[in-house]
Each structure stands twice: as structure tokens, then as C-alpha cells.
């Protein structure tokens, strides 16, 4: 496939499929949220490890391994969604996972919640809403 063939595709995508792609990625961020929680859990074991032992840790530390497996599931769904959507819309939507990660941190780890965090979450949700609604049309 040459670049010229791909370049014209975003403009002929059916709006219904485009909206479906956006919805898939938004649901997928839940998976990223869970996997990042697991990865962070595993990463805490590695604060003094080198780059190579970090890479090995993905296979030897259970939470890290589970986290990356979930990330694999996410990647499959993301590639599926990319077939019918714009990369410049779908990729930033992944930022919604920050919202899930922060909520998980507060609920599961009793991390402190403060005004800055709450406003950060609200602004991220607003940004995702702008991309989701604005990108679904046209």
C-alpha cells in the first residue's frame, strides 16, 4: 500500500463507523487504566533496576505481566478502531485513562485527592468530550 492510497482514506470514512471507533477507544481507556495500575504496582519493584532487568521484569513480575497482557488486548481493539478513524482524534482520547488511573489511585491506594487533581480530571474529560463530539461529525 502506498502512502497516497492511505492519505485520502480519512475523508471517505462513514460517520457512523467513525463514531463507533471513538466509542471503542473511549471504552478501551478503562482497560488502559487497569493495566497502568498493574504496571505501576510492578514498577515499584524496579526502582533500582537497569534497563535490561526492567525488560525482563515484564515477564517475571506477575502484576507487570498481567498489565502488559491487558495492554495487548487494548492494542488489538485500538488497531481495530484505527481502521475507521483519524489517528489525530483517536490517539489523544487515550488520555481519558489518566482519569481512571487517578480514581483507582484514590480508591485503591488512598492517595490524597486535592483541588488541582479534581480540576485536572475535569479539564481532561472536557478535552476528550471536545475531541469525541467534534471528531465524530463532519
Amino acid at each position: 500500500m502506498n502512502p497516497a492510497a492511505t492519505s485520502s482514506e480519512p475523508h471517505v470514512i462513514d460517520p457512523a463507523k467513525r463514531r463507533q471507533s471513538i466509542l471503542i477507544v473511549i471504552c478501551c481507556t478503562l482497560l488502559v487504566g487497569i493495566s497502568q495500575y498493574l504496571i505501576k504496582l510492578g514498577a515499584n519493584h524496579l526502582s533500582h533496576a537497569g534497563l535490561l532487568s526492567t525488560a525482563m521484569g515484564i515477564f517475571t513480575i506477575p502484576p507487570l505481566f498481567a498489565g502488559y497482557c491487558l495492554y495487548g488486548v487494548f492494542t488489538v481493539l485500538f488497531v481495530y478502531a484505527l481502521r475507521n478513524g483519524e489517528l489525530s482524534i483517536l490517539y489523544p482520547l487515550i488520555a481519558l485513562s489518566y482519569v481512571w488511573v487517578t480514581i483507582t489511585g484514590v480508591v485503591a491506594f488512598h492517595e490524597p485527592m486535592n483541588a488541582l487533581k479534581v480540576s485536572g480530571l475535569a479539564v481532561i474529560v472536557a478535552g476528550v468530550a471536545v475531541l469525541g463530539w467534534g471528531g465524530g461529525g463532519k
Binding site: 500500500m1 502512502p3 492511505t6 492519505s7 485520502s8 482514506e9 480519512p10 504496571i39 505501576k40 510492578g42 514498577a43 515499584n44 524496579l46 526502582s47 533496576a49 534497563l51 526492567t54 525488560a55 521484569g57 515484564i58 507487570l64 502488559y68 495492554y71 492494542t75 485500538f78 488497531v79 481495530y80 484505527l82 481502521r83 483519524e86 489517528l87 489525530s88 482524534i89 490517539y91 489523544p92 488520555a95 489518566y98 487517578t102 492517595e111 486535592n114 483541588a115 488541582l116 487533581k117 479534581v118 480540576s119 485536572g120 480530571l121 475535569a122 479539564v123 481532561i124 474529560v125 472536557a126 478535552g127 476528550v128 471536545v130 475531541l131 467534534g134 471528531g135
Partner: protein, 110 residues
């Protein structure tokens, strides 16, 4: 810090290959198994993840979080370059809000 910055740029490059690979997939299984674009995309993702894990395990979240979200800005540029996706006001506003929100989150996490 440098690791996270490199990781986020590499991750956004990986997304280009995932997108290229996604369009090469059809009903035949060989289109997935021998899809070098998907392989490169997943490979670069793995490299960026290792860099993230390494960079995140010791560093200030307030600095690291905004660096990660720079990957979204890169993606706007790559998408324009490689897929001729227009950079619209809606996209700039959306990504801008996300950047601000993530920066707030990072500041709040200190």
C-alpha cells in the same frame, strides 16, 4: 525524565505504524501474521513502555505527566504529515485541554 520524553515521542511514532498496519489488515490471516507495519508499531510501543516503566519508577510526576502528553501533540503533527488529517480548531482545543488537565494532575500529585 529524558527517558519518558523519548518514550512518548517513540510511542506516537508507533501509533503511525499501527494505523498503517490497521489499513493493511483484511480477512486473510496472512495480512495480520506478515504485517510488518503492525509488528513495527507494536515493537516501538514495547520499547516506549520499557522506557516509561524505567522513567516513571523514579521521578517527579508533576514533570513526567506533561512530558507524556507531549506525545499527543506529536501525533497531531504526524497525522497531518502522513495521513493528511487536517489540524482543526476542535483537535487543537481538545488536545490543549487534555495537556492542561494532565499538567494539573501532575501538579496535584506532588
Amino acid at each position: 525524565m529524558v527517558l519518558v520524553l523519548i518514550g512518548s515521542v517513540i510511542g506516537s511514532v508507533g501509533a503511525i505504524f499501527l494505523k498503517l498496519g490497521a489499513h493493511a489488515v483484511n480477512r486473510h490471516w496472512t495480512s495480520i501474521a506478515f504485517n510488518w507495519r503492525l509488528a513495527v508499531g507494536i515493537g516501538t510501543y514495547l520499547v516506549s513502555s520499557v522506557l516509561f516503566v524505567k522513567g516513571m519508577s523514579n521521578g517527579q510526576l508533576s514533570v513526567l505527566f506533561p512530558l507524556v502528553s507531549l506525545g499527543y501533540v506529536c501525533t497531531l503533527a504526524w497525522s497531518r504529515l502522513f495521513f493528511h488529517e487536517p489540524i482543526t480548531r476542535v483537535k487543537l482545543a481538545g488536545v490543549g485541554l487534555i495537556l492542561i488537565g494532565i499538567t494539573f494532575l501532575g501538579l496535584g500529585g506532588r
